[in-house]
Symmetry: C3
Subunit: 346 residues, 3 copies
């Protein structure tokens, strides 16, 4: 993976697409239509931004086939500019720091296996029996528990904690403050107190998973918590013990999923969703942000209970009306009765 | 505390219960009915799982007295299998790592007191005047501020932060990323800006408290924030300054409690509950998940405002109806007036 | 900045106000009316607390001009006791620990610039090209990425992570576990999988910003995420990529703001608010706690969709009624039709 500046011909050679215009134009970074200037490659994915595309100061554009003639600037024509952006953004991404080897301040237990190509950052702690595969990068202060496995090419940013015996697949990206494998919330009530149920399961994470900053995934109580391949988790998500998140499901920030819930494959879950425990969500379900899910969902589709705000005075009237629905229901019944009586008399 | 394999006779000797069947059967771990195999001790707590109990491949079962004859496998009969699971899970729990002593990479200030039996992990920082009692275990990179006290047998996992002058009782379990004693959110408005009110109170945590990963408990503004004995807090909970959480209350993940609120004893609060500041919740209150609490609750009972999702089209109709309740109310009044007029004419 | 004990005359010399009573009375800390004892300076800001003020055991009081004669104790009379509290609390605040210099266990890359007056705590990691200004204090284990800038007099508590190229203004206070600059949640769907869009923007934070424990602010996708001057963020807030938070806006804990949303200046946002992406909130907007914002707000005012809990049985009736609104609407239409028919016949 290179890092700009690049000639447009080079971009197309790496990422595909059809080049219209001068192949020797040099671009140094990707930018939005609005903020782009000379040396920038901007992209148009949304037809509503045509005016911005016309006005952009970028040196070149990425455009969809339908907008091939939107500009006279040099341009890369492709089927899906947003997917193209993904490839091109990788091209311009600075290579992440981290030379192979174990930093002198890291603490790696005897008996931990660290591939020679892995980079173990300053202050990292890798416990007994852990296995760190090729090209793994651990940022500063990562704590990797006993017998943890981390698959090749994974990147843990600073301050990631992996509890004992959990397993991370290849090509994971885990952001700072994420905690994988803390105890699930399991207690038995007895005599007004709570007895801890020791959580002896693990967290098993598949390939190509990204986990956001300060997200927490609890280990299973007896069986394991499972995150399947290709799952993308945003920041500050909480996943309870014994959940299973299906492959290629994406979950936005601040969502909480209580224990023992199974989410299907290819789901999209909006931010701040609140999902109860012990339920099942089918594949291809879309859940709106700020939505509560209290029962299993068996059919694909879009589900919501998001409550949009209004001016507080108006909202208070709505609340009063909702509380008055019992009374409204009664008044309608009464009207029906009286009207029927009159109709009969007629 | 031992760690398997154990003979059933040994399990019963430690945890009680009545053994039916061969006392010499050896079990190595506890497992769920479904995933159990030879060498596993499974448990049945829920009569709806009888079919699974009949089909389990476990070597032995924990069963309630009412299900004494559910199986011909060796079995431990007890009053409450879930509470029994708690004791038995402790028996099979691997002893937590951490030899007594201060790791060579830890930084312990002169004048901090660390009991000889305490285990201070790699990279820990213990500031001046802190007191760490017997058998305390600090995981990697814990930061313990000035004059903090940590009671005996407490276990802080990696990356726990305790701000100065806070106090943790005996037998606490605090998970990674928890932050105890950060400043409460206190500002005075003046001329369109916010003036910080320095937060000079502390966080005082009782005995036998468990605190989940990335949970935050703010120090008091002037007085203290108090977590009483036996409280269990799940992950990603936020407790504002000057709150008091009553003894043996359990709070599920992602719940936020604003400042100066008092929660009673023996409460159960569901996940993602949102609790306003400056209110009081009585003892023995149960709050459903995803529920907003805006006023004090004076009576025990179950409270909810959780809004379950429906298909988005249906939900939009409901929202439109809610917004139309003013109009519905008006139409009913109108019907009542017209009908009364007709009835009078009759 | 000093730290008590102080004579009342000294308090007034530093913070202003009019002293009524003995200027030589010595106070050692500020306390609430209820918990104050001899040697404490208590404050009365709310007329509802007059009874507590009369009964307080404090040695002196801070009172508003309207309550000048509430007590015979020595007292400081001022216009706004809450703003006064801010200044006085600073006076009694213990000076934060941290001698100038780089702790022997910190890892500062060659080429990072650290002002001689800055204090770099144990285990901190400061990467290549970072610039740490005068009087900055980094608590234990902070991770400061490449080319990060931290302005003068800023204080990062233990375990703060700043990703590469982000910028923090002067006088920031950032609490433990905060993560600034992790990747925004950006993926392009292709063939049922998610392609990562590398996040190449930054986080730019203005002057006098406070950021709570475990709060996360994502870096921009292409452009930057911006937090303007004087913004105050509580704990466990999530701010998505490319958001802009206007100057002097205060946001309470557990709020999530999805990507590309602009919040105006001088807004107040309650706890656990859920704010959608790609919208704009005007200046001087107040949003209640636990409120969902799904559309832009163009007018100042108070907005809410908070749903207060009721006893669960009552709540279930309300939910059933809400689901039955379609039917109610139909019955009213029917009543109107029948009544109109009768009225016509009359």
């Amino acid at each position: 993976m290179s890092t700009g500046p690049l000639r447009l011909a080079e971009v197309v050679a790496h990422c595909g697409g059809e080049l219209v215009g001068d192949p020797d134009v040099v671009v140094r970074r990707i930018a939005s239509l609005q903020s782009a200037g000379p040396g920038d490659l901007a992209f148009l994915s949304d037809a509503r931004r045509r005016a911005e595309a016309a006005a952009t100061r970028a040196s070149a554009l990425i455009v969809p086939e339908t907008e091939r003639d939107i500009t006279t600037l040099p341009r890369i024509v492709c089927r899906d500019p947003y997917a193209y952006l993904s490839r091109a953004s990788a091209l311009f991404q600075s290579p992440v720091a981290g030379a192979p080897g174990i930093h002198s301040t890291a603490v790696v237990a005897a008996g931990a296996e660290v591939a020679p190509s892995a980079s173990i950052g300053p202050g990292c702690v890798v416990e007994r029996g852990a296995r760190i595969a090729a090209n793994v990068m651990l940022g500063a202060h990562c704590a990797v528990g006993e017998e943890v496995e981390i698959g090749p090419d994974s990147h843990l940013h600073a301050h990631v904690t992996i509890y004992p015996r959990c397993s991370i697949g290849p090509r994971a990206i885990i952001h700072s403050g994420a905690v994988i494998g803390a105890d699930g919330f399991g207690f038995a009530p007895e005599g007004g107190k709570w007895l801890k149920i020791y959580q002896t399961g693990r967290v098993l994470i598949g390939a190509d998973v990204e986990i956001g900053a300060n997200t927490t995934i609890d280990r299973g109580a007896l069986d394991d918590t499972v995150i399947e391949d290709g799952v993308k988790l945003d920041n500050q998500i909480q996943i309870g013990h014994n959940c299973r998140i299906g492959a290629h499901t994406a979950i936005a920030g601040c969502t909480g999923i209580a224990g023992s819930t199974t989410i299907g494959k290819h789901c999209m879950i909006g931010g701040a969703a609140m999902i109860a425990g012990h339920i099942e969500i089918a594949d291809h379900v879309v859940i709106a942000g700020a939505t509560g899910i209290t029962k299993s969902i068996t059919q694909p589709g879009i589900y919501s209970s998001a409550l949009p705000a209004t001016a507080v005075r108006e909202w208070r009237r709505s609340l009063a009306h909702i509380r008055g629905l019992d009374r409204i229901s009664h008044r309608i019944r009464e009207l029906e009765r009286r009207l029927a009586a009159m109709e009969q008399d007629r």
